[in-house]
């Protein structure tokens, strides 16, 4: 494995913010650390970057133990949430800053920097000042600055949190594209599951400093392991008894006008129109359920009687 993290633990006071975290990542993959605020996800990233010293654990990148190294010695580069661009330096100066510490002449450095700027879509921005750039452009500079040093591991801390909704969609694609171009092993942290679903190869779901589940995006949605992943990822109708917890996602409930085999009668208590989809709050004799249908299909009125076709899945 290209990256192996094992037994990583970080303690603040008497609180284990990162509790015995272990995971692996293949070369060239994107891993997303997902979790609510305070789950310890950013702390893991800071431990990898060298900005926090974990109490115990091992981190091996390309067969090399790196926890004993200081941040400047690690073959890792971080793109910070607030980007951390140097306001007193131009775009190109920011981009090639890391090459100062490699055996590269300034001329070569500028050439390399310009190439990278072109890849991230900032050709000709060399002499701009940082405060003249938009948020998206700043993020591209931060990304270029990290890529230019050819790190073994690229860390992105909440890369989409400072962008507006439209720009976020663009940057998700951009980052994915650039990551594939460089085939660079990447870990990013987010609290937004949509970010995780659309970009990641594997998702590490964190809660209270512990890993709850490591899976591909599809698996984590379809096969949540335990109640936290079920509650946190997507929405679901949950039925828990003493022995087991069962669930069904709202879009898996099919609505029919007439009774069929294995359907359950229900009445639509409330309808919420959400653009592409319509959400129904339905009461049946067993439970209140939420169902989702596309708004281009038949739309039911509140008070209508419908017949629900669905199957509960047991969580693992």
């Amino acid at each position: 494995m290209f990256l192996t993290v094992s037994g990583l633990t970080k303690i603040y006071g008497d609180k284990k913010v990162v509790d015995n975290v272990s995971f692996e990542a293949e070369k060239g993959s994107i891993t997303c650390i997902l979790g609510p605020s305070g789950s310890g996800k950013t702390t893991i990233l800071r431990c990898l970057g060298g900005f926090e010293n974990p109490e115990s654990g091992n981190v091996i990148i390309d067969n090399r133990e790196i926890l004993s190294l200081s941040p400047e010695e690690r073959p890792i580069s971080t793109v910070f949430q607030s980007y951390g661009l140097f306001p007193h330096k131009s775009v190109i100066e920011n981009t090639i800053y890391g090459l100062k510490f490699k055996k590269v002449t300034r001329k070569e450095a500028i050439k390399e920097g310009q190439e990278i700027l072109e890849i991230v879509g900032l050709k000709g921005y060399d002499n701009r000042r940082i405060n003249q750039l938009s948020g998206g452009e700043q993020q591209r500079v931060a990304l270029a600055r990290s890529l230019v040093v050819k790190p073994n591991l690229l860390l992105l801390d909440e890369p989409f949190s400072n962008l507006d909704a439209k720009l976020k969609l663009v940057m998700r694609e951009e980052i994915q594209k650039i990551q594939k171009t460089f085939n660079i092993t990447t870990i990013f942290v987010t609290h937004d599951q949509e970010d995780a679903f659309s970009v990641a190869d594997q998702i590490i779901l964190m809660n209270k400093g512990r890993i709850e589940q490591i899976s591909s995006p599809m698996d984590i949605y379809n096969y949540p392991k335990g109640e936290f992943p079920l509650q946190f990822i997507g929405r679901s109708n949950i039925k828990s008894t003493n022995e087991k917890v069962e669930f069904v996602r709202p879009e898996e409930i099919k609505l029919h006008d007439n009774p069929k085999e294995n359907t359950m009668e229900g009445i639509i208590e409330k309808r919420v129109f959400k653009g592409a989809i319509v959400e129904y709050h339905i009461s049946t004799k067993d439970a209140n359920l939420i169902a989702i249908e596309l708004s281009k299909d038949k739309v039911y009125n509140e008070g209508s009687i419908v017949y629900l076709e669905f199957e509960y899945k047991v969580i693992m």
Partner: protein
């Protein structure tokens, strides 16, 4: 009916503030200019001829200013950078040592310099057996640098605290070592604040007359000449003229500061990240900064130790012994002076903080355009030499209807309005933190502007008022320049007594008074920090309650 009453109360308050700024700041200013530039109602520049006749004074002032600026800027950068990188414990020690110099009279270091390096100095004579004259330009430059460095370092430290920590982490993540971080990130980012610090040092040096007076010997500068013009020659017009000349660089710096660096000064009151940075404490540049900083801090400590030592000891036949004689000797000075000084400092501290806050309330919250000018005038005492402000008061208030010379009131007014710039700056930053909607709610619920002041502004500005009170008190306890001409022999304040006894060579008594001034300031500042830390504890409690 009730509204009318409150309306007029509001108006009276505002007019009082405006009038007091005009009368007690602007009018003395104008008086200095009129006195120096006019004779019998006509413009007369004859007094400026001394610029040609005694050009050496200008040269002395400028060279001293340049040397002190360079030295104090270099040392303060070293201290600030070392402070920024060092551990919390070292930070506490540095802060404590710097505070010590802030709460002592400006010329206290000169006193200990003479005690350490003078003809009979502990070090030069006592340890090395040398008898060197400490007087002259070198002494002035060294002592001014010592004083300015602390102020500059505190300013720079405050600025560094605001640097976004991720800048440093980014640099590390890209491979930068400590030396690179200092060279590429910290120092370039400090540049605007370094320029501010240099400008302030330069005009402070020009304005300082007490250090050159005590330690300059035959070396005179413009500021001492202005002082001597009044004290020795009784020529107030000459003093006013010199003050006008000293005012020119000050106002240039001030305008530069207002236009170019205002944003910098303002942002200093903003939020700070609080936590320090943790980078490796190694590399030649770090070690250079550390060496410079430690050298300076040890030097300050030795100087202060020597003050305490000379307060409690005397030398007889070459041997030093413990004694309380100096305390006994200074009893006559102290018993009478200290209560008066503390009284004046208390009033100045309280009055300036309240006036500053209300002034900013009308300017910032109520947003009256005319208050912008008043605010500008209120800032002027910050930048002009203290002697200028003092001479202005003599000239402005020596005849009816405002004949105040010789009273204690003129002293109180002078120190109060001299502290107004700081108080109004603090007031402004406090007010920016009050939510506009909170204020609007009072009015929405039927309250009057007077209620806004009473129920919102004053209670929410408590900590700001504390800060400007402590600053006003401390500055008044340690000031000398602006009041030295205003005080009649019978009502001297502590710093002046100290200045007098040092001038007449009674260093032991001088040390005792210095020691006592520091002690009083230390107590007031200590009380403030005690209140502050108790408040913070309370805050923590309410915070955790809020969370649960």
């Amino acid at each position: 009916m009730r509204k009318k009453l409150l309306d007029s109360l509001d108006k009276i308050l505002m007019i009082t503030i405006i009038l007091s700024v005009l009368i007690f700041i602007l009018y003395p200013f104008i008086s200095v200019f009129i006195t120096s530039l006019m004779e019998n109602g006509r413009i007369d520049l004859s007094y400026f001829s001394f610029v040609k006749d005694e050009a050496y004074l200008i040269k002395n002032s400028i060279t001293t200013g340049i040397y002190s600026t360079i030295l104090s800027t270099i040392f303060s950068i070293m201290i600030a950078v070392y402070f920024y990188i060092s551990t919390d414990r070292v930070k506490k020690i540095i802060t404590a040592i710097l505070m010590l110099t802030i709460i002592s009279p400006p010329f206290v270091t000169s006193l200990s310099y003479i005690r350490l390096f003078g003809r009979r100095g502990f070090i030069t004579y006592g340890l090395l057996g040398l008898s060197i004259s400490p007087y002259g330009q070198l002494g002035i430059v060294l002592m001014q640098s010592l004083g300015f460095t602390s102020m500059n370092a505190i300013l720079l430290m405050g600025y560094l605290k605001q640097i976004d920590k991720t800048l440093i982490e980014s640099a590390r993540s890209l491979g930068a070592k400590t030396t690179d971080i200092i060279k590429d990130i910290i120092l370039p980012l400090m540049k605007p604040s370094i320029i501010v610090v240099m400008l302030l040092s330069f005009i402070r040096s020009l304005a300082d007359f007490s250090t050159p007076r005590i330690i300059g010997g035959a070396f005179n500068v413009l500021a001492t000449e202005a002082y001597l013009s009044i004290i020795a020659k009784g020529d107030i017009r000459r003093a006013a003229t010199i003050s006008v000349i000293l005012f020119i660089p000050a106002i240039i710096v001030f305008i530069l500061y207002m236009t170019k660096f205002q944003s910098l000064a303002m942002s200093q009151h903003g939020t700070n990240s609080g936590e320090g940075i943790s980078i490796k404490r190694d590399g030649y540049l770090y070690n250079l900064m550390k060496t410079g900083a430690i050298f300076f801090l040890v030097w300050i400590l030795i100087q202060y130790a020597s003050i305490i030592m000379s307060a409690f000891t005397d030398i007889y036949k070459g041997k030093m012994y413990f004694t309380l004689n100096h305390f006994r000797e200074s009893k006559i000075n102290v018993l009478d002076t200290f209560p008066r000084t503390i009284f004046v400092a208390l009033i100045a501290g309280i009055a300036s903080s309240v006036i500053g806050l209300i002034l900013e309330y009308y300017g910032f919250i109520r947003n009256y355009k005319s208050m912008k000018i008043i605010d500008f005038i209120a800032t002027m005492p910050y930048i002009v030499p203290g002697t200028f402000f003092g001479i202005g008061y003599i000239l402005a208030f020596n005849k009816p209807p405002l004949e105040l010379t010789g009273t204690l009131l003129i002293v109180i007014l002078n120190v109060t309005f001299r502290q107004l710039p700081f108080a109004s700056k603090v007031g402004y930053s406090t007010l920016t933190q009050i939510n506009r909607d909170t204020i609007n709610s009072v009015k929405d619920l039927g309250g009057h502007d007077c209620h806004v002041i009473k129920d919102i502004i004053l209670p929410l500005s408590k900590s700001g008022l504390y800060i400007s009170f402590v600053n006003g008190f401390t500055s008044t306890m340690t000031t000398i320049g602006s009041i030295i001409f205003l005080i009649y022999p019978k009502q001297k304040l502590a710093t002046m007594v100290m200045f007098d006894v040092i001038e007449s060579g009674k260093y032991g008594v001088g040390s005792v008074i210095a020691f006592l001034i520091i002690l009083v300031c230390l107590m007031v500042n200590g009380l403030y920090y005690l209140l502050l830390s108790r408040k913070e504890k309370k805050k923590d409690v309410s915070y955790s309650i809020g969370l649960n």
